[in-house]
C-alpha cells in the first residue's frame, strides 16, 4: 500500500515537471540571422550540429545543446530551453504534422546531399552498391519509394506502411548485408514494433536484392555509426547521412541518393513572425 | 619406541611480525612424544607457547625447524600430505568453531562425507552414535546458535571424534565456558580418556589434569622446563618457575 502510494507520488511529480514550461519574454524571431545569438539544439553528430556550430561561432559552447535523439531536441524547444532546433527538412516536416505549435523558418540554412557511408577503402562494396543504386534509380524503384513515403508521412499517417511488407531478401545466397542506422529519423528510418520502415530501409532492401544479399539492420545511436562502419561492425551505414568534406576524409561514400536536402530551423510557432 | 604416535624433535617456532620485522621466538627446542592411549596435559603461563606447540603438531602453524613424526611418518617434510595427517589428529578449540550455517548433524558429517570416508547414511548413523555418547542425541537437527556453550563444545568434540582420530588435541576446551558448564565438558573428556583415547590437553584446569593425565608438561618461555607424572609435577615440583606458577594458579 505504502509502495503504491510512493509510486503514485513519483509519477505525479514527474508529470508536473513535464508539464511546466518556461516563459519567454524576448521579442519574436523574424529572420535566420537572429539565431546567431540564441540558444540552439541539434541531434549529436548530425550536420545540423555542424551548421549550428558555424552559426554560433565562439558562442557555441554556451549556446548549443546537442541531444542523442531528435525527440529530445524538440522537447527542449517546446519547453523553451532552446530557441530553435537545426535539423533536416523532411523529419522537421513530420514533427510539424504530429506536434502542435511548431514552425519551420522560411529560409533554409543549407542544402546538401545524402549518401551511403562505407569503411575507408572498401572499394569493392562501394562499386557494387553504386551499380545497384544506378539500377534502382533508372528503373524507377527509388522514386516509387520516395513518393510512397512523402505521400503517407507528410499526410500525417504512416500506419499503412508495415515493416513485414518490406522484403529483406531472407536467406539470400550472397550472405548478409549489415546496415547501420539510427531508426528515429522518419521518413528515412523508423522502428515500428520489432521491425523497421523508411526510405533508407526500403532502398537498402532494394540494393540488397540486387546484390543477392540478405538485409540486416543494426539500430544504433547516430554518433556511433562512423565507429561501427570503420570497425567493420556493419558493412555500410545509411541514415540520411549528409556528405561533407570532413566525413569524406574518414569514410567513403556512395553516389548521392538525395540531392538538395535542406537543413532548416524549427522554432515555436508563437515565437515566430514571418 | 614403537608405540609412539607422535614424536617431536627439537621443535622451534619463530614468529616474525610483518610490520616491524621483529622476531618472536615462541618455541625454542621442544622434544617430546606421546604413546598410544597416553594423556598428556600441557600447562604453563600465558604466552609461554602451549597453543603454538599444539598447533605445530598438525601444522596449523608451520614449524620453523625441528622434526615431527606421526605414526612414523615425518610430517614436516614437503612430501607429506598434511590433510591426511589431520584426519587422524583432530583438534578441539577454545571457542568451539562450530559451523554456524550447518546443523549439528552436518557439522559432524561434513568432513567424513566430503573426504569420502563414509556415505551420508553411514555418517548420519555415526553422528547419532557420537551425539548420544556426548549426551546430545536430541540436538542432532538443531542449529549451533541454539546451543549453550557447554553443548557446543560437546558437539565440537563429537565432530572431532567423527573422524575416528588417533589423537585428539584439546586447546583449553573449557576456558571460554561459564563455570556451570565446565563440568559437563570435563565429564565427556573424562569418559573419552577412560576409553583409551590418546590426548594432548592444554588446560588451566589443574584438578582435571591431575585426575586424568598420565604425564604433565610444564612449558615456560618456549621450552619444556619440567615434565613428569601428575604427582611429581604437582606435588613435588623441582623447578622454581614451576613452583611459582603452581602457587599462583592453585591459590586462585
Amino acid at each position: 500500500m505504502k509502495k503504491l502510494l510512493a509510486v503514485t507520488l513519483i509519477i505525479s511529480s514527474l508529470l508536473i515537471i513535464a508539464s511546466s514550461s518556461f516563459a519567454d519574454e524576448s521579442p519574436k524571431l523574424r529572420s535566420i540571422d537572429q539565431l546567431k545569438n540564441e540558444r540552439l539544439a541539434a541531434q549529436r553528430g548530425t550536420v545540423g550540429q555542424f551548421i549550428a556550430e558555424d552559426m554560433l561561432g565562439d558562442n557555441k559552447g554556451r549556446l548549443l545543446t546537442t541531444y542523442e535523439k531528435y525527440v529530445d531536441a524538440i522537447a527542449a524547444l517546446r519547453q523553451g530551453k532552446v530557441r530553435a532546433v537545426v535539423m533536416d527538412e523532411m523529419p522537421a516536416k513530420r514533427f510539424l504534422n504530429d506536434v502542435e505549435g511548431l514552425a519551420i523558418m522560411d529560409k533554409a540554412l543549407s542544402e546538401e546531399n545524402y549518401a551511403i557511408g562505407f569503411r575507408k577503402g572498401n572499394k569493392e562494396l562501394v562499386e557494387a552498391v553504386n551499380k545497384a543504386l544506378a539500377e534502382i534509380k533508372a528503373d524507377g524503384t527509388l522514386n516509387a519509394i520516395f513518393e510512397k513515403y512523402y505521400g503517407t508521412f507528410l499526410a500525417g499517417d504512416s500506419s499503412t506502411i508495415k515493416p513485414e511488407d518490406i522484403d529483406f531478401n531472407k536467406g539470400a545466397k550472397g550472405g548478409k548485408l549489415v546496415v547501420g542506422t539510427e531508426a528515429g529519423f522518419a521518413p528515412y528510418e523508423l522502428r515500428v514494433g520489432s521491425g523497421y520502415i523508411g526510405i533508407d530501409v526500403e532502398m537498402c532492401a532494394a540494393i540488397a536484392k540486387k546484390l543477392d544479399r540478405e538485409l540486416v539492420i543494426e539500430n544504433m545511436n547516430f554518433d556511433a555509426l562512423p565507429m561501427a562502419v570503420s570497425t567493420n561492425k556493419v558493412d555500410m551505414i545509411c541514415a540520411g547521412i549528409t556528405v561533407t568534406d570532413e566525413r569524406k576524409e574518414n569514410m567513403d561514400f556512395s553516389e548521392n541518393y538525395v540531392v538538395g536536402a535542406k537543413q532548416v530551423a524549427v522554432v515555436r510557432a508563437d515565437d515566430y513572425e514571418k | 619406541m614403537n608405540d609412539m604416535i607422535i614424536e617431536v624433535k627439537d621443535l622451534h617456532k619463530t614468529f616474525i611480525r610483518k610490520d616491524t620485522g621483529t622476531e618472536l621466538k615462541v618455541l625454542q627446542g621442544i622434544s617430546t612424544g606421546i604413546r598410544k592411549g597416553e594423556k598428556i596435559a600441557v600447562i604453563g603461563p600465558s604466552g609461554s607457547g602451549k597453543s603454538t606447540f599444539l598447533r605445530c603438531l598438525n601444522r596449523m602453524e608451520e614449524p620453523t625447524s625441528g622434526v615431527i613424526t606421526f605414526n612414523g611418518e615425518d610430517i614436516t617434510s614437503p612430501k607429506c600430505d598434511i590433510n591426511l595427517v589431520r584426519r587422524k589428529m583432530c583438534m578441539v578449540f577454545q571457542h568451539f568453531h562450530l559451523f554456524p550455517h550447518l546443523t549439528v548433524r552436518k557439522n559432524l558429517t561434513l568432513a567424513p562425507v566430503d573426504l569420502k570416508l563414509m556415505t551420508q547414511d553411514e555418517a548420519d548413523a555415526r553422528a547419532h552414535e557420537l551425539l548420544s555418547r556426548v549426551g546430545l542425541a536430541d540436538k542432532i537437527d538443531e542449529w549451533p546458535d541454539r546451543l549453550s556453550g557447554g553443548q557446543k563444545q560437546r558437539v565440537a568434540i563429537a565432530r572431532a571424534l567423527a573422524m575416528n582420530p588417533d589423537v585428539l588435541l584439546f586447546d583449553e576446551p573449557t576456558s571460554a565456558l561459564d563455570p556451570e558448564m565446565i563440568g559437563e565438558v570435563l565429564d565427556v573428556m573424562k569418559e573419552l580418556a577412560d576409553s583409551g583415547m590418546t590426548m594432548y590437553l592444554v588446560t588451566h584446569e589443574m584438578g582435571f589434569a591431575h585426575q586424568v593425565a598420565d604425564r604433565i608438561l610444564f612449558i615456560d618461555k618456549g621450552i619444556i622446563s619440567e615434565e613428569g607424572t601428575p604427582d611429581e609435577v604437582f606435588d613435588h615440583p623441582k623447578q622454581p618457575r614451576t613452583i611459582e606458577f603452581l602457587s599462583k594458579v592453585l591459590r586462585r
Partner: protein, 272 residues
Amino acid sequence: MTMKSNLSHQKGAGRGDILLGLVGLFLLYLLYDSGFFTAEAWADFNRRFYQNFVKDSRYMMLVDGLKATVFMTSGATVIGVIVGLILSVIRVAYKGGVPIPILNKFAEAYISVLRGTPAMVQLLIWNFTIFASARDLNTQYIAILAFGLNSGAYVAEIFRGGIESIDPGQMEAARSLGLSYGSSMRHVILPQALRNVVPMLFNEFIALLKETSIAGYIGIDDLTRAGQNIQALTLEHSQPLVMVAIIYLIIVLFLTHLVRKLENWLSRGKRG
C-alpha cells in the same frame, strides 16, 4: 523479536505514512493547479496514451525491450557472480598463503582496470574493438559479457569483504578435520560469506539492471531504447520515458522485496 521493537517499528511506519500522504496531497494540488484535471487534459492524456502504447500494439515494443533488459541483466548477473567468486577466492587464497602470485596479480589488475573505467566505455570497446568482426554473434551476448565482466570486478570486492568477515577460526576448524583448502572454502567459508553479502549483491544487481540502459549504444533495443523508439514513432516526449521509468521502478521494488525475503530465509537458524 520482542514486543517492544515490534511496537516501535509500527510507530515509525505510521509517521512515514502520514508524511507520504501530506506530500501526496500537495502534489495532487499542484497537478490540479496545473490544469491536469480538466476534461480536455484528460482526453489529451488518454489520446496520447493510446498513441504511445495501445495503437498497433506498441506496448509490445516495451515488452520486447523489457525482455532484452531482463535477459542481459540475468546473463550478466550469472557471469558477474562466477567471475567475482573466482577473483575473490584467488585474492583471499593468496593472502591465506596459497602460492599463486601471478593469478593474484592478474585478479588485482582486472579489478582495478574494470572498476577504474566507465561501463559505457567498456561496452563500446567490447562491441567495436574486441568483437568488431564477430558479426553473427548476437549483440546481446556481447553486452552480457561486457556487463558481466564489469560487474564481476565489483562482485569480487563484495565477496572478498564477505569472506574476510568470517572468523578465521572457521577455516582452522575445517582444515583441522583434514578438509582441503578448496573444500573448506566451498563448504564452510563461502556459504557463510554469501549469506553476509546477499544484500550488497542484490544492490549490485539492481545497479546492473539500471546500467544495462546504456545498451542502446551498441544497437540493442532494451527497455530504455524501446521507450526512445516509441518517442521517435509518436514524437511524444514524456509518456514513453515515464512509462519506462515506472517499469524499472516496479522491477527494482520487486527485487528489493525479494532480497528482504531472502535475507529472512538465510538467517534461519541464527538466533532471533
